[in-house]
Symmetry: C2
Subunit: 314 residues, 2 copies
Amino acid sequence: MFPAILAASERLRGHAHRTPIHHSRTLDALAGAEVLLKCENFQRGGAFKFRGAFNALSLLSDEQRARGVITYSSGNHAQAIALAGRLLGVQTTVVMPDNAPAIKRAATEGYGARVVPYDPATGDRKQIAEALAAEHGYTIIPPYDDPNIVAGQGTAALELIQDAGALDWLLVPCGGGGLLSGSAIAAKGVAPGCRVVGIEPEVADDATRSFHTRTLHTVHNPPTIADGTRTPSLGAVTFPLVLEYVDDMRTVSEDAIIEAVRFLFYRTKLVVEPSGALGVAALLSGAIQASGRVGVILSGGNIDGPTMARILTG
Amino acid sequence: MFPAILAASERLRGHAHRTPIHHSRTLDALAGAEVLLKCENFQRGGAFKFRGAFNALSLLSDEQRARGVITYSSGNHAQAIALAGRLLGVQTTVVMPDNAPAIKRAATEGYGARVVPYDPATGDRKQIAEALAAEHGYTIIPPYDDPNIVAGQGTAALELIQDAGALDWLLVPCGGGGLLSGSAIAAKGVAPGCRVVGIEPEVADDATRSFHTRTLHTVHNPPTIADGTRTPSLGAVTFPLVLEYVDDMRTVSEDAIIEAVRFLFYRTKLVVEPSGALGVAALLSGAIQASGRVGVILSGGNIDGPTMARILTG
């Protein structure tokens, strides 16, 4: 799949931002390594998700574009599909949990998507999307379990290594595994010696258990502040890729995630959402004892005001 | 003074960060102009103040360095002097109001400075510093009213125009006028057609009144959230420079400042302190109706958690 990532990278040129790499002397000292932060919080739509969404929508046929697309997402993928749809002239519909952060729903609608809310305690977002797709002829663009999405997400790690040079470690947040598998394929493609580790919240450790047992585990609506990782499991596409390309998985506590968001706010002046701070949480908590050059994907910055307020004053 | 800014720029190379320029399509649309954000929140110590502090300390004689320096500051200058002192091996003492944000005092002490607190309602920070300087032989490094400080602060605008090209407008926060006068001298030196405007809080509008009446006005501990602008007045060095090089002054309300901090948080994922957001406040509130290419100095990012929490949930 590495060639698909290179092709996605060409496709995204001039549409996605080539996001900057930031650096913190304090973080280096605490981690005992040279840490390179790939700032996908500065990506269009506020998260890496734009990469996969734009790549997938670019690959639709004219007929598919004319009929429109549908997706299901707790937030950042929704915004990304909505924004990519607006840029490419494709009508978009998003099935979104009714407890999704208000900022994410507002941003999705602001980009012109139609939002269909559902109750995550009783409904199945995929089934709802499939029913609407069958009724209206929409193409389903899943949030992670799709080769074109995986290829798009892999471009962030590709850019990081192209811009910063070879890495000894690459730490990547893991929800459904789209960013993680894409990052791992990209890293192995350009820097084979790089050790790629997926980071999950302890309370949403389905992928870590799946990785270690080589059997798919699931969680149901786990109580983590990292809302981007509340996905039930790795997917049919991403699970085999994670098994093949990822070197290890680690988990971090909710306190470690909160501490990482706070650290990034105070010491680097970056607004990073809890899911985006998982790699830094792994370094600060000691879950990863890295050395050498460590890449960290800060996957997004879409955090609600009340959540950040709680983190800053807690 | 333009040559002094060019010299400071050489002196700072490899010590200060050449901070990035950020851009927001949403801000451009709201302002009706192309807005270029010079991110001094990413400067060492979290604010532009490092530039002037490092420049001033670099110019000390060996004897002055050996005796140490003293300054008085509500915060960012204090951190900058402490950090520059640590890097250059100069002992630093800071006279700081006892109501200064906790994060700023902690950071100043973290860089190795000795902090002498005083009550701003009853004490005069300059007199306290002068008494300690006389007693211990310290050199006083004022927060803004010093040509070497002004020259250092001017390097941010110089970099902005060197990196982004000519500007039609440059919006600069104004406290004691060190950043504003340095920025104006730099802008006129490299882009003579650039209109330089200083921005102040309405409730701390001493410099605006001084500018329009050409007579020095003062305020006493004004009740603005923009703590970097709580300075009593322009200084003997900065007032004439502001009169000579600055094109205009404008004020913004406390609500406009808060809205700008919030906008920068949500839409650009940047942590910017209230004083640093004055230029964006002027654009969003309509205090400045700019067109063409507009440079804005985001002067710092050192904001207390409780203050940011209030802004995000207010």
